[in-house]
């Protein structure tokens, strides 16, 4: 399995989509800090804090930017094997379809964590840089570790809710249909984030679960966890089922 994961990692070398994803991880913390500065200038009673930058960043990452970017990455990980027609080369070796899929899921999971880790680095970085010119509170080691743990937990939840996109990419063998679904899902996230069903909608439930607000939205930690776990398992099971029955090439 280590070789499969290594090969999946190697396949990403010089990939533009990964470079774009890495650069994308800068966007949310940067925009959030710009917005925070604007607010603090408009209202002198509002403090500029690393906690505040994190709170806003995690909201945008979990509800909008993260699902959007990482679902695209999930789809690309699979669809490139179809567009570059590499499956017939790989499976003729042969490697088992289950092992191949496991490699994809593990790599996707690692990429989501990497994305969250980079976002964390950027939150810390923009806070520290901002502190050079303006006063930013809560810049402490403990805060940084706390935010890191929350970000990684967010990564786990995010990757769990995005496994159905692996299935969708296997099913459609392309990118157009999955991208339409990704766009629709992101829109729904925005629309439903404040609604009473937000705790039951997997992609908003993950944010509410992470921030400890799920109980306040009429759901519970258990229900939210079960919903997210179900989505994750459905994505994995459907992917295995879809892939096992398909001829290659």
């Amino acid at each position: 399995m280590a070789d499969i994961v290594y090969c999946e990692w190697k396949k990403l070398k010089r990939s533009k989509i990964i470079t774009t994803g890495v650069l994308g991880s800068f966007i949310v913390p940067f925009l959030v800090v710009v917005n925070q500065i604007r607010i603090s200038f408009a209202d002198a009673s509002v403090d500029l804090s690393m906690g505040g930058i994190y709170e806003d960043s995690i909201m945008f990452i979990m509800l909008l930017f993260g699902p959007l970017v990482m679902a695209v990455v999930a789809v690309w990980l699979v669809s490139r094997e179809y567009t570059e027609k590499t499956l017939k080369t790989i499976f003729a070796i042969p490697i088992g379809r289950g092992r191949f899929l496991a490699g994809k899921f593990i790599m996707f999971f690692l990429l989501v964590l990497l994305f969250m880790l980079l976002s964390w680095v950027n939150i810390i970085a923009v806070s520290v840089i901002c502190n050079l010119f303006l006063e930013v509170t809560q810049i402490t080691f403990v805060s940084a570790v706390y935010i890191l743990i929350r970000m990684l937990k967010g990564g786990l939840l995010l990757s769990a809710t995005l496994t159905p996109f692996i299935w969708l990419a296997l099913r459609t063998k392309g990118t157009f249909a999955p991208f339409v679904v990704i766009a629709a899902l992101s829109l729904l996230n925005v629309v439903l984030s404040g609604s009473p069903i937000a705790g039951f909608y997997p992609w908003t439930a993950s944010y509410l679960l992470l921030t400890g607000r799920i109980a306040g939205m009429g759901s519970s930690v258990f229900t939210g966890t079960m919903i997210i776990l179900s989505v994750c398992l459905i994505g994995i099971v459907l992917s295995i089922w879809e892939f096992q029955k398909k001829d290659i090439g």
Partner: protein, 307 residues
């Protein structure tokens, strides 16, 4: 050891319409080069994909290395090297990186094997070039390098000469012949280049519309491809009698209205011509020729030739 490395029995693949491969019975002998011939859409690639377990048969049986495919140990597939359709690798990676991935996935990552494979197909100086920047011929050579990298006992090659220039074709042909001769590698290839068959294959299978029309050795093929003298005469029946009675010729054929082909005693054609004239048979033309493989296959598949 089993006489055949690949054996299929009533191998069939159906999608929604008619069968793409229909009751195929292949026999690929060990240590030989077997060429599968057929027009586009004959079912050659699907057959190869079924042998490699990329496509699941809807019927029939596959036996590889003497073992039934259903019970076939996956590790035995490591004994096979393959190139199916156009070579496909990761566009963003170099030739070396692509081969390294395949070697690692095979669980046999040896740098010397990668180096040797690239050198064998003259890619050692291009190993740091990305696959997307390769020409069609270079891509084909990389596909072949990937197929032979782990020194397989059986090579399954789908149109291995595609995209190669004449020098490249000669090099690949020599390499495959050498592999077969020196290492006893069995090579099962598909091709539509008829001249390649004569220079490479020892056994030939002809496929059309999913069915195997003929499976024959090279000697048999030569029989179809031998030289002849063609006589255009006024009376075919009397000319036949002259051949048989005056010259003792039995190996001839009436090939058309007023034409006969003589397959023996070709050097006596002037004498035979005089004999025909003496018997009062008008000879309007005498020509020397060789049966074309293409004619043979066209006749076999009953169409416009191998596409």
């Amino acid at each position: 050891m089993n006489q055949y490395v690949i054996e299929t029995e009533n191998l069939t693949k159906k999608y929604d319409g008619p069968a793409v491969v229909d009751g195929l019975n292949l026999h690929v002998p060990a240590g030989k080069i077997y060429a599968l011939l057929g027009r586009n859409g004959a079912g050659k690639t699907t057959t190869m994909k079924m042998l490699l377990n990329l496509v699941r048969p809807t019927g029939g049986r596959i036996t590889l290395f003497g073992e039934a495919s259903a019970a076939f140990d996956k590790k035995n597939y490591y004994r096979i090297g393959s190139l199916i359709e156009t070579p496909s690798f990761y566009e963003n990676l170099t030739a070396w990186e692509n081969l390294e991935i395949l070697a690692r996935l095979r669980g046999r990552h040896r740098r010397d094997e990668i180096e040797h494979a690239l050198t064998a197909f003259n890619l050692d100086r291009e190993k740091k070039k990305r696959f997307r920047d390769y020409s069609l011929g270079m891509k084909q050579r990389l596909g072949l390098a990937a197929a032979i990298m782990h020194e397989p006992e059986l090579l399954i090659l789908d149109e291995p000469m595609n995209g190669l220039d004449p020098v490249g074709i000669h090099e690949v042909r020599s390499y495959l012949l050498q592999l077969c001769r020196e290492k006893g590698t069995t090579i099962f290839l598909s091709t539509h280049i008829l001249s390649e068959i004569e220079q490479l294959a020892e056994v030939i299978g002809v496929m059309d519309q999913g069915r195997l029309l003929e499976e024959t050795g090279l000697q048999e093929l030569y029989r179809h491809n031998r030289r002849y003298v063609e006589f255009e005469v006024s009376d075919v029946r009397r000319a036949s009698l002259v051949f048989e009675r005056l010259f003792g010729i039995s190996d001839y054929a009436v090939t058309g209205n007023g034409t006969l082909r003589l397959y023996e005693q070709l050097q006596r054609r002037a004498e035979i011509n005089r004999g025909l004239l003496t018997e009062g048979i008008t000879v309007s033309g005498v020509s020397v020729g060789a049966g074309k493989l293409e004619d043979y296959f066209t006749k076999l598949v009953g169409g416009e030739g191998i596409g």
